[in-house]
Amino acid sequence: MGTTGLPTNITQGVRTKGGIGESTLRPDGTLKVTGEFAYSSDMWHEDMLWGHILRSTVAHANIVSIDTAEALATPGVYAVMTYDDLPTDVKNYGLEIQDTPVLAHGKVRHHGEPVAIVAADHPETARRAAAKIKVEYRELPVITDEASATAPDAILIHENRTDHHVGHVPHPNIVHRQPIVRGDVTEARERADFIVEGEYVFGMQDQAFLGPESGLAVPAQDGGVDLYIATQWLHSDLRQIAPVLGLPEDKVRMTLAGVGGAFGGREDLSMQIHACLLALRTGKPVKIVYNRFESFFGHVHRHPAKLHYEHGATRDGKLTHVKCRIVLDGGAYASASPAVVGNASSLGIGPYVVDDVDIEAIALYTNNPPCGAMRGFGAVQACFAYEAQMDKLADAVGMDRVEFRQRNAMAQGSLLPTGQVVDSPAPVAELLRRVKAMPLPPERQWESSEGADVRQLPGGLSNTTHGEGVVRGVGYAVGIKNVGFSEGFDDYSTARVRLEAVAGEPVVTVHTAMAEVGQGGVTVHAQIARTELGVTQVTIHPADTRVGSAGSTSASRQTYVTGGAVKNACELVREQVLERGRRKFGTYHPAWATAELLLEGGKVVTDAGEVLADLVDVLGDEAVELEREWRHRPTEPFDLRTGQGNGHVQYSFAAHRAVVEVDTELGLVKVIELACAQDVGKALNPLSVVGQIQGGTTQGLGVAVMEEIVVDPKTAKVKNPSFTDYLIPTILDTPTIPVDVLELADEHAPYGLRGIGEAPTLSSTPAVLAAIRNATGLELNRTPVRPEHLTGTA
């Protein structure tokens, strides 16, 4: 078979026990450092074709005509497809609301929307053919903000909405609205000695994962298709792909190819359906790989937001009330907007105790690029705003900013604005204390005997300052993120675990559909299997749709939920193994019946440490294998009028202290240090935990000082779809990131663990902004902050 890059089992044998709590190394580490790990763009098949997508050059237009004749006649071209070529009546897809056309039908709603697809024998042939497709657009006015979206005579982005939000939104160009009302803000305002207000703007951030959208679709003899793909959730993709292809789900066999990062940007489909359509049309394998330019159009971004906040406090520094309105721009299609609204509203006041709140969050439909999931998911934008408010209010009260936060900090037993009780540790004040207690980095580290080392100064290698204008600032922030899917979603995962004797050794195989996107889930699954089954040799089966859904690799949920599923399946396997042992050997030793039995070091042992049998002897020739679903505690939807409800299952808290040096004359920023303290419940793999916290912290830094997709308000076209102009932090922009890990167990979660991936992305941004404000004395109500904002030249 001429396919290369097919995922294979990854077996890891470790001499040490390698169970949970140890910093075991990645099972895919060697493959990744030798270049042998097969990412989705590395797939290769003999005789394969290359797919290419023609995208709209305008943001909002009716399509008058599409002429593909010349493209189709190009030598080397095997297929050109438009909306009219879609094989079934299902022509849309979408995570929650199926409002996204597979290929544009009569209208395009954003810049870069797929209009036609081409398959050819070389990527250049496909590109040239696509360029020959003639699309005639009749342009429509663009809707780019709340005012233009909700004007009485506004063109509806989606006519004839039938989704379940349309009944409660004030305008059809609003995807979803969630108010949260608790107590009486009007009355509470009377008790406030100090009130601060602020209007905040959060720019559009891109996930900027490095591995571009890509994959390989191979048509099968049974009329189905095999798809090798980088995604965050195989089964969610499958549910959306199969109906469009007109195939039953078991004929669309999906396998996770190597994923080069995700961060939310692979929660929605990109080229999956297009590759399958072309493969089924041509009868040949089709590979599609976006380049970086296309990638900016090929996935959703983080919602840009406008946020208005009013906070009040008494003279002694207690919060009286919070009133806020959060307007998220969802762009042309719904994607994850409804759930983002749920997070922004329910977590909108942060990890603080406030009895009287009035929160409103909405997501708009506009002609801007579609926005959806990105690490932090709705909680990020709010955190930027409420933390700025907390600093302002502390200053108004005349209290230390950290102390003010601590005085109002949530703790176990506190209520969220939704009325939900936080029923696990919430060490908000302690995290702030810890991050403040870390030693500050020395001043003027850039000074050396040979003069200034520009690499350590704002501007870096560009040699803009030798110390002139440089002022240091320090800022703090803390945030709260929910873990897992909320609002009543059936958030389950599935694990298949097999224990067998291979060549005289016990071996565990763990098979889940969990998307390993870099987070280290595969490492943790092996650790869990070792801990639960006492076997050192663990094989991680490639993730695919031949096993039940694992849910999404998002919402900081995989270690909790799929980790929980693996743990549960291992426990059940262990019970069966012990039962088999009792049947086989029970008569030889009374402890089989009386003692608590464990599996350790490949043996069945009593809790007193007495060895009863070798696992391989218990197993014999017959493997023990089972597949089980596992769920966390159920949640419930928020009330549509009051926002009350037990919507979340778990929370994650992180606090940051940022130390920056700002060249105040040029407006250039160097972050010197970004210290983080985070409660992780239980660190299943401490090395990975710290890596996640540092990575999340850095993405927060990026949107503080450089990252923004700029959309022209006149045309709704993206102005910087490249790594030349969408900048993410380099190693010279990234400071040391000391991490203090706190482990307060959540008794409801497996091993007491807490989902950790997102919380550090929340508080990092406001901490950096606070530090820049501290250095410059400027108000700075938008992020990212750019040199012109710091120099009065915007």
Binding site: S462, N463, G667, L668, M706, L727, P729, P787, E788, T793
Partner: protein
Amino acid sequence: MDFLRPASWEEALAAKAEHPTAVPIAGGTDVMVEINFDHRRPEYLLDLNRIADLYAWEVGEDSVRLGASVPYSRIMEHLRAELPGLALASHTVASPQIRNRGGVGGNLGTASPAGDAHPALLAAGAEVEAESVRGSRRIPIDDFYTGVKRNALAPDELIRAVHIKKADGPQQYAKVGTRNAMVIAVCAFGLALHPETRTVRTGIGSAAPTPVRAAAAEDFLNAALEEGGFWDNGKVITPSVAKQFAELCSAACNPIDDVRGTASYRRHAVGVMARRTLTWTWESYRGTRRTIEGAA
């Protein structure tokens, strides 16, 4: 598309004469981006990698003849003394990988106002050695940039080398970007003191349709330095002189608002860089004078 691989300079000139639309490619750091992103499909690519002469430099009495393809990393490493401004500019170019491939010839050929080398060349004083089958000529750097991404080359000409005046005094270069490495200039500034002629030259990047010198600022400063006897007495530059010089440099800009920065910021930042680079170079000049006097 055709790929032309001349083995010698003469073959390259002949190929360019035969195919004037051929796009020369050396480091590839501009051309390949345009090809990868489907922004450009030249009929011919003219590969200059095999012409060893383009990778060589000679240090002469008054100037350095720098082959068009000498990578920035080599300039940083080997020509720091002779061409300090250009060496500093080279250090700000993109990334180590790009500095290993790209050279001044490419910057000149592309003639983007954001090219990092331009302000340093303008400040140092340079001539571009352009050649075709018709012959060779030297184009003064001040006449080279003719418009946005346009230069004075004829369609059949190739850049063979740049002749850059050897530094006779301190030179500085600063570039503003919104990231601390691997960034395209929002704006850039180069400054060279020429004690031999008692003049100061400047270069501004990314703040006008072409790289430009701040002529009025130079004239002002030259006069002020002369008047105050600064070249001889080595006094600290008066803040008011530095301030006015900075303002004139800002005034020399004709920038635009774009996704990388506002016009207003560019003007402001050029002024700040002008003042700082003047201070750095002048302090260095004073230091050198003191050292010389001390030794005498």
